[in-house]
Amino acid sequence: MYVLLRQLATIRREAHLSRGRPRSLAIRHVDAGSCNGCEHEFGAVTNPFHDLQRHGLDIVASPRHADILLVTGPVTTRMVGPLLTAYRAMPEPRLVAALGDCALGCNVLGDPAEIVGALEDVLSVNIRIPGCPPTPDAIAEHILAALAQERADHPW
């Protein structure tokens, strides 16, 4: 079976056949302390203008169904626990995306005593989406580019 699959892979690669549509991935969002701007824009990616689903990406309700944990906001001291609980509930392999400048640790405002830090300080980040807030187009572009890169790095 394994040999057959490898042969199939070789044939596809030599024929420059892609694996078809990008792998369909499910995203679970967690607000770790944002201003609600990123939530509005991440909500807008599913509106009729941007329609994230056409790229094979969908937003799911449970971390148990998710491939990507997409986090907004600087991580507050009160959200770090629930954030890690959601991360641990996800099946592997899993990716972590930082949505917006706050999650990336840029220009974060607030009392240092109330904020743990950027998402990077809590979880290792695979996908970085800058912007304040990132536009719906930018969100889709960054996630798709990161997935294309992921496929290039790990073809099979």
């Binding site: 607000d31 201003c35 609600n36 909500g43 203008f49 937003i59 507050t76 959200m79 607030g110 109330e114």
Partner: protein, 469 residues
């Protein structure tokens, strides 16, 4: 307001009681100062104006006023948690901002046959802000809800202390993305009052345009959210698309979909030339026509209205008692809107919207937004008849150490109080429409079915971010 009226701590209750008898209304309260010299202040408003009263509690203890003003409940709980003030007569004083493990410290005690709890959040099933709700239910029926917010508390007010007048503005803005314009304009009103600055006509017009553009995309969003709350995809998709078009107008006119960076202290950093205002007006007219068409479709969706009528009722008396504001209050029959008393903005001759039937339910909160959208389109059509100039402020007023600004945000009156120490901001307090309305949400939810809570919640569509700060 620019002056603080000091009263003795033992005269605090009496002063508030007398003010209420005289027809004044509670507009928010905040603690100010540090260890040793903590002051407790309250804003009182009346048609004649505003005043701020203050007392210096001894031993960090002051008499509660919640039996006089129920709307002060959250203000007192917050001051207790964040500033260590104790309130006599506020019993039990439940934790609001502090998260304690012991449920008795923050939950309403509910007991009886078949009573059980349903815990929801802080992470919810959709793309929603973080916050926890503890429902006390019998079967599917909600007896009481304890909202536990402040998961997103970033200490913005404390962090803003010590900034100069321009430097504190980003903290007011960052409190909430969807109310960024309202929050920053409330802040500029407060600081400009304190500095004795008055906006010229150009600045008043530009700021009014920004506020209405913010209301436009928010109200469109909120109508779509109510549709989503009953699973009516055609409505939620139609209004999500309309909201996006409104934000595209923001982007083209002012370079940002949420209008970030369009408000500054003492001046307007944005302007629009004649061709840009014409373009914006044209786009808004098209959006207006399509909004009207989408609304007509929604009005004839009988299955939607069957889910909205009589759900999540906020009665007039309860709205007044709990201090509800904004569209939620107007849907309950309170005919108030700060836009009708905004000399620092360009709302000349504005009258608050009133629904045909102020039934206070989800249906009324949906309808009031459609009515207000009409007003917003009309206001924008008029204000964009001429190019928008940057505008500026003129001095000449008396400088003071205190300023209070109020603005009608998409969710109701947002109050910002600023206290100055020389040129530095010693205290900045933001009490938004969302903050005022959360107690009304919990009240409106009681007695309803648990599966209707998301719908009731969306019909208020309050921000968590500007409450948590």
């Amino acid at each position: 307001v620019t002056a603080i009226e000091h009263v003795a701590p033992r005269a605090w209750r009496e002063t508030v009681a007398q003010a209420l008898l005289d027809g004044e209304r509670f507009g928010g309260a905040w603690a100010s100062g540090r260890e040793g010299s903590l002051a407790w202040r309250a804003l009182l408003t009346s048609p004649e104006g505003q005043r701020v009263i203050s007392c210096q509690p001894s031993e960090r203890q002051v008499e509660s006023i919640i039996d006089l003003v129920e709307a002060a409940g959250w203000d007192e709980r917050e001051a207790h948690d964040l500033h260590g003030l104790a309130f006599f007569g506020h019993s039990p004083l439940r934790a609001l901002a502090t998260h304690l493990d012991d449920p008795a410290q923050w939950m309403t005690p509910v007991t009886g046959d078949g009573v059980h709890q349903v815990a929801v959040g802080p992470i919810h099933a959709g793309v929603i802000e973080s916050g926890h709700f503890r429902f006390h239910v019998v079967g599917e029926r909600i007896l009481a809800v304890d909202p536990r917010l402040f998961y997103k508390h970033r200490g913005l007010e404390r962090a803003a202390e010590g900034s100069d007048s321009e430097g504190a503005l980003p903290y007011a803005q960052r409190a909430c993305g969807a109310c960024a314009v309202a929050n920053t304009i409330a802040y500029t009103h407060a600081i400009e009052t304190a500095l004795g600055l008055r906006p010229d006509r150009e600045l008043r017009i530009t700021r009014t345009v920004l506020l209405e553009l913010e209301r436009l995309y928010n109200h469109l969003h909120d109508i779509g959210a109510i549709c989503a709350g009953v699973g009516f995809a055609p409505g939620s998709m139609a209004f999500a698309a309309l909201k996006d078009r409104a934000q595209q107008i923001n982007q083209r006119a002012f370079g940002h979909r949420f209008l970030f960076g369009s408000v500054r202290v003492g001046r307007g950093p944005v302007e629009l030339d004649a061709s840009s205002t014409d373009a914006a007006r044209g786009a808004l007219r098209e959006l207006h026509a399509d909004t009207a068409a989408a609304w007509r479709e929604l009005e004839f969706a009988g299955s939607v209205h069957a889910r909205l009528d009589g759900v999540g009722v906020l009665a007039l008396a309860d709205a007044q008692r709990l201090g509800a504001v904004g569209p939620a209050a107007r849907a309950a029959g309170i005919r108030e809107d700060v836009r009708s008393a905004s000399p620092r903005l360009a709302y000349d001759g504005f009258t608050p919207a009133s629904p045909a039937a102020a039934s206070g339910d989800v249906a009324a909160r949906l309808r009031i937004r459609a009515i207000e959208l009409e007003t917003t389109y009309e206001l924008l059509e008029g204000l964009l008849m001429q190019p928008l100039a940057q505008g500026t402020t003129a001095g000449g007023g008396t400088a003071a150490t205190l300023g209070v600004g109020t603005v009608e945000s998409p969710r109701g009156v947002t109050m910002c109080a600023v206290e100055l120490d020389g040129t530095r901001v010693a205290r900045m307090h933001l009490r938004t429409g969302s903050y005022a309305n959360w107690p009304a949400v919990t009240h409106a939810a009681a007695g309803n079915l648990l599966p209707d809570f998301p719908l009731i919640n969306k019909s208020f569509e309050l921000c968590y971010a500007c409450v948590d700060r």
